[in-house]
């Protein structure tokens, strides 16, 4: 009888762990609060991260450049984000950026941050910047950073595309 209780408790703990973990597997796309953009489609995000779009067309008549934020190191969040959004690995997306530099389309490779905190700080201090972090970081966002909807979905919704 005691054994059954222990099993039940273990299952509850396991399920709680899974559900908590799932909550934190969403990736949120963030921009500076001064940026009037509130939502992007996955296709728009792909064109931004493949550097096919280099300006915020809706900001100052397209005069504001998009400043991409990247990570120095590989991680599950980084690989998952680029695979979902662009279909490319982190290394291949970097090659795309170098290719765009070599044809003059962009001027430099995106800013590389070591940690998600660095990304948040970078976004907070650059009006045209865009980046992504794990949703678990959302409590650490300052006022100068906001989360974008993707395909008009909030990251808490079940059909949010960056899960």
């Amino acid at each position: 009888m005691k054994n059954i209780k222990i099993y039940r408790i273990m299952i509850v703990i396991f399920l709680a762990f899974i559900s908590t973990n799932n909550l934190y597997t969403q990736i949120v796309v963030i921009v500076n609060s001064k940026n009037p953009v509130t939502s992007l489609t996955l296709e728009e995000l792909e064109r931004i991260y493949t550097a096919n779009v280099v300006r915020w067309e809706s900001v100052n008549d397209g005069e504001e450049y998009i400043t991409l934020s990247d990570y120095k190191n590989k991680s599950d969040v980084v690989e998952r984000f680029f695979k979902t959004v662009t279909g490319l690995s982190h290394l291949k997306i970097r090659l795309e950026w170098i290719g765009k530099m070599l044809t003059g389309e962009i001027q430099h490779v995106p800013n590389k941050s070591a940690t998600e905190k660095d990304v948040i700080e970078f976004i907070a201090s650059n009006k045209g910047a865009i980046g992504f972090v794990n949703a678990s970081m959302i409590n650490e966002f300052p006022e100068s950073v906001k989360v974008l909807k993707i395909n008009e979905k909030n990251y808490t919704e079940s059909d949010y595309p960056l899960r």
Binding site: E64, Y65, T67, L91, R94, L95, I98, G104, Q107
Partner: protein, 417 residues
């Protein structure tokens, strides 16, 4: 006087300081540096199995491994919607490209242009830029991101010029418009351009007529990493067909007189000024997971070719000459690659050149390439590849060194910024 010279020398220092400030200042414009300087080094070596088939070489070329080229790129969004871009090449070595020793240490401006952006759908570019013909022509200096060392044959100007095949891809252009439209998640890009054409006199000076014009449309459907494009270019080019005519005339002359064919010297009068070159291209690029397919097809037609009547120059000349005719040559390549562990990418490439009138290939040249690249990170590519060149029905009269041959290449490309 000497002091004045010294003064003049010092007069440039403020400008130099200004340029340095511009180069290294972080934020004169809102988000972008005023100017970015970056580039890459190519270190490459090769081993050729047989005597080179061009230039009548009598000895095997030596195996080499040397620092070939350094490319420096300058990129500046210097004022609102204005941009400037330049690629400068420093030729450290001698064997790739122009083989003459004089080119060692040479600086070349490969591209240099200004661009004004009116909107996303309209940008105006002027200066010297690669013709946006096909997907890879405007990217042909991107060795740090390519998996292969050698470009597809249709982009190898040096190879084509040495075999007298003539360029098939349009030369650099001077003025163009470009832009992009988004329609229901379909990205449709366009280019339209004009340039000096390839019409030159016997000293290779531009003769200031017969300008080239072209356009390109590129479509990216709402599918990850699929790009399809089509291109067209036309120009009047009186001298493009010249090597064919001269060589064939000499062949005919040799058959009549028994004299051997040694070198190419013009023996025919000018060809018809109505000669027109039209080049059409189709290209495809598709990445599916780790699998990548790319290919291009180009057909170049030269029409209204005719020799000016030479009967008043020589009784026998017309015996060797061609009648008015159309010439056509075709290039295509297919490259298949697969990436393992995100770093190792073996590939196979097939290049085909078909030119029924060509005096060396006579019919076709096939190049088969097996190679692989390894990337420890995004800035370094280590490559090795093996090429087999097979010529078609070679004309009997050509020297023995016009034969099939193999090459082994190894290279390292390092990007810096």
């Amino acid at each position: 006087m000497r002091n004045k010279c010294k003064m003049n020398r010092f007069k440039n220092i403020p400008y130099l300081i200004l340029v340095l400030i511009l180069c290294f200042s972080e934020s004169l414009l809102s988000q972008e540096k005023p100017i970015s300087i970056y580039g890459y080094l190519d270190l490459a070596g090769r081993d050729v199995s047989k005597k080179q088939f061009f230039n009548g070489a009598t000895e095997n070329p030596p195996s080499t491994f040397m620092l070939l080229r350094t490319h420096i790129l300058l990129n500046s969004h210097f004022y609102k919607n204005w941009k400037a871009f330049a690629i400068i090449r420093f030729q450290n070595g001698t064997f790739l490209g122009n083989e003459s020793v004089e080119n060692k240490g040479a600086f070349d401006l490969l591209e240099g242009w200004f661009e004004y952006r009116y909107d996303k759908w309209l940008r105006i570019r002027g200066g010297k830029f690669l013709a946006p013909f096909g997907y890879y022509n405007t990217r042909k200096y991107n060795s740090p991101i390519f998996n292969s060392i050698l470009l597809p044959l249709m982009y190898e100007d040096e190879f084509l010029s040495q075999t007298s095949a003539g360029t098939i891809i349009p030369p650099e252009q001077n003025l163009g418009i470009l832009g992009e439209f988004l329609i229901d998640n379909w990205a449709i890009g366009y280019n339209a351009y004009i340039g000096n054409g390839s019409d030159t006199d016997e000293h290779n000076y531009d003769v200031n007529n017969n300008k080239g014009i072209g356009f390109r449309i590129q479509v990216e459907p709402p599918v990850h990493n699929l790009t399809i494009g089509t291109s067209f270019y036309t120009e009047k080019s009186r001298f493009d067909i010249r090597p064919y005519l001269d060589m064939n005339a000499m062949m005919k002359k040799a058959a009549v007189t028994g004299q051997p064919v040694n070198t190419i010297i013009p023996i025919l009068p000018n060809v018809n000024e109505n000669e027109t070159r039209k080049t059409f291209g189709f290209d495809l690029r598709y990445l599916i997971g780790n699998f990548k397919l790319r290919g291009e097809y180009v057909q170049s037609d030269i029409t209204d070719v005719a020799l000016i009547d030479a009967s008043n120059i020589s009784d026998t000349l017309n015996t060797y000459a061609f009648d008015g005719s159309d010439f056509s040559k075709t290039f295509y390549f297919i490259n298949l690659s697969y990436t393992f562990f995100d770093k190792l990418t073996p590939f196979f490439e097939l290049n085909v050149f078909e030119d029924p009138r060509h005096f060396v290939y006579r019919n076709t040249l096939h190049r088969y390439t097996l190679g692989t690249s390894f990337r420890p990170n995004s800035n370094i590519a280590i490559k090795i590849e093996y090429h087999i060149h097979q010529f078609g029905d070679i004309y009997n009269k050509v020297p023995n060194n016009f034969k099939n041959y193999e090459m082994l290449w190894a290279a390292i490309s390092v990007f810096f910024n």
